[in-house]
Symmetry: C2
Subunit: 319 residues, 2 copies
């Protein structure tokens, strides 16, 4: 049996895992990221987590042929540096070089959303598909594209950033500095803003009750759950939100034409309340859907494991 | 010397060419499409044009290893049929099969915008680049993407339709049935509409003089030329129009990350009046431009020849 070693680097935890060739996680080890610490300290702990999880799995480091890392941001192909990781305050850091000081393995670093897409494509919701678009509706909108079984990082290798495509010209200001990005409308953060606006316009809406009449308690479930109770204003928020998501996924599908779309992130817990109307709207927003069809959107199935599995299996998709 | 045989099928003309291995067109032959005629008649004339141009070049058909065709629409990979060609009123026609009845060569059919992109990437504005996005600002907005030297037709092979990505949520109705497509805002048709709206709001604008006070004579040059004379309302139209184009190209670059962007179509005759502000705006609309850079937008150089050269060379990019 061949084993793979991966790390999902998050703002909260460094999650390491050993994955077998059937894509099962056979050992896990997680330590707090301590994002306020120095780059060197965090990287030293990443190497430590990798060594400890190997030990938990009862395997020597020499059993592995690489260490795969899923990280916020992406390696700049021109410099070999990790471009930008907001959570850690990193900009242009030599993450591969620094990891190699602590661990004697080839190191592969990819964007965490790319790793999650690869994990779902290999072992999760898109198992068996070679061309997969994954979109994560969380605090932001992330995403990865698997093209012919490989991670597509853009033609120049600098990354794939579907959340920062504009769907509303001159729209809401995004954290990236542009206006009207899919992230500003399709993220949980966007949904919360849309929910609050609707609540202010509809003082009688059930949404007020749902969040205890406290606007600060509005979350990604407020509108969805109130809509399930028959609240019209909440239903309008949900419809509008899903339309934004459908336009974003529709745009990406119109140029990339994946076979399947995986939706991850907190909002995908809404399951058919999200996916049924989303798939209906994709028929309108994917160009040529009536002639050629539109890809089906399905919910991610691996949760946080997708990132670990994808990171560990990075070497496999380099073959 | 190896020679290649190609046809660019347009609504007006069937343009056939023989191209040498240095990408020069060594013979041309053009016959009217007669788009009102039957599918079978038009295809018979396509074969006739191919045979006649080979004769003009002094070459037997056996000198060629394929016939490449650039056509509106795209072959549906599930059916092998040409999906939809509006100009000819074709829907799901067996163009490859029908051509083979008349000409004993393997036939390759790709979208005409894909062929133009390939032509410019091999022999024109993007010579030497392997990753090229071409966007054509004409009656509509077409485009092609060359990825690793090959035409990218989308993961499922069904086509790449950048003009039908939405940039203005719930915006102007597009001919495709969606609202707010790049085509509705970034095409010459979109520019003409934007020009007319501005003229109605600004009765003193030079634009009225430029088109002889006849709104029906407004074209893609009206705003650009009046802006060059210092007309403020015209300059605003031009700025806004280029912003739409920049958002569209910015979105595509944010996910595809081409090394270079070629701008073709009638509007690219405005040269630096289009390209200088466009390149400036791309710094804002390509995600991560400040860290990783944005691709440069340059004008197409081959005009209509790009489509013929790309069609003829299709077999080369299949290697």
């Amino acid at each position: 049996m061949k084993y793979y070693l991966g790390i999902d680097l998050g703002g909260t935890n460094i999650a390491a895992g050993v994955v077998d060739e059937n894509y099962n996680i056979v050992a896990r080890h997680s330590i707090p990221t301590g994002a306020h610490r120095s780059f060197e300290e965090i990287v030293a702990d990443m190497a430590r987590a990798a060594k400890e999880v190997a030990e938990k799995a009862g395997l020597p480091l020499s059993a592995f042929t690489s260490l795969g890392v899923g990280s916020p941001s992406c390696i700049n192909p021109k410099t070999g540096l990790l471009t930008f990781a907001n959570n850690m305050g990193w900009r242009n850091v030599p993450i591969i070089e620094e990891l190699k000081k602590h661990i004697d393995l080839p190191v592969l670093v990819y964007n965490d959303a790319d790793c999650a897409a690869l994990g779902e494509a290999l072992a999760g919701a898109a198992k068996g598909y070679q061309n997969v678009l994954m979109i994560t509706l969380g605090t932001g909108v992330g995403g990865g594209m698997i093209l012919d079984g490989r991670i597509f990082k853009g033609a120049d290798g600098a990354g794939f950033e579907p959340g920062h495509t504009v769907i509303v010209y001159d729209g809401v200001m995004c954290t990236c500095g542009k206006k009207g990005c899919l992230e500003s409308y399709g993220s949980a953060t966007g949904l919360i803003n849309q929910t609050k606006v609707a609540m202010q316009a509809h003082p009688q809406s059930l949404m007020h009750e749902f969040c205890g009449h406290d606007l600060s308690k509005v979350d990604g479930r407020t509108a969805f759950e109130s809509a399930k109770q028959g609240d019209k204003a909440a239903q309008d928020v949900v419809d509008q939100y899903i339309s934004y998501v459908a336009v974003g996924i529709g745009n990406l599908s119109t140029v990339l034409r994946p076979e399947i779309v995986i939706v991850g992130g907190g909002i995908c817990n809404q399951k058919e309340c999200l996916l049924d109307p989303l798939n209906e709207k994709l028929q309108d927003y994917v160009f040529g859907a009536s002639d050629i069809g539109a890809p089906e959107a399905v919910a991610a199935t691996l949760g946080n494991d997708a990132g670990i599995i994808g990171a560990a299996l990075l070497e496999k998709c380099m073959e």
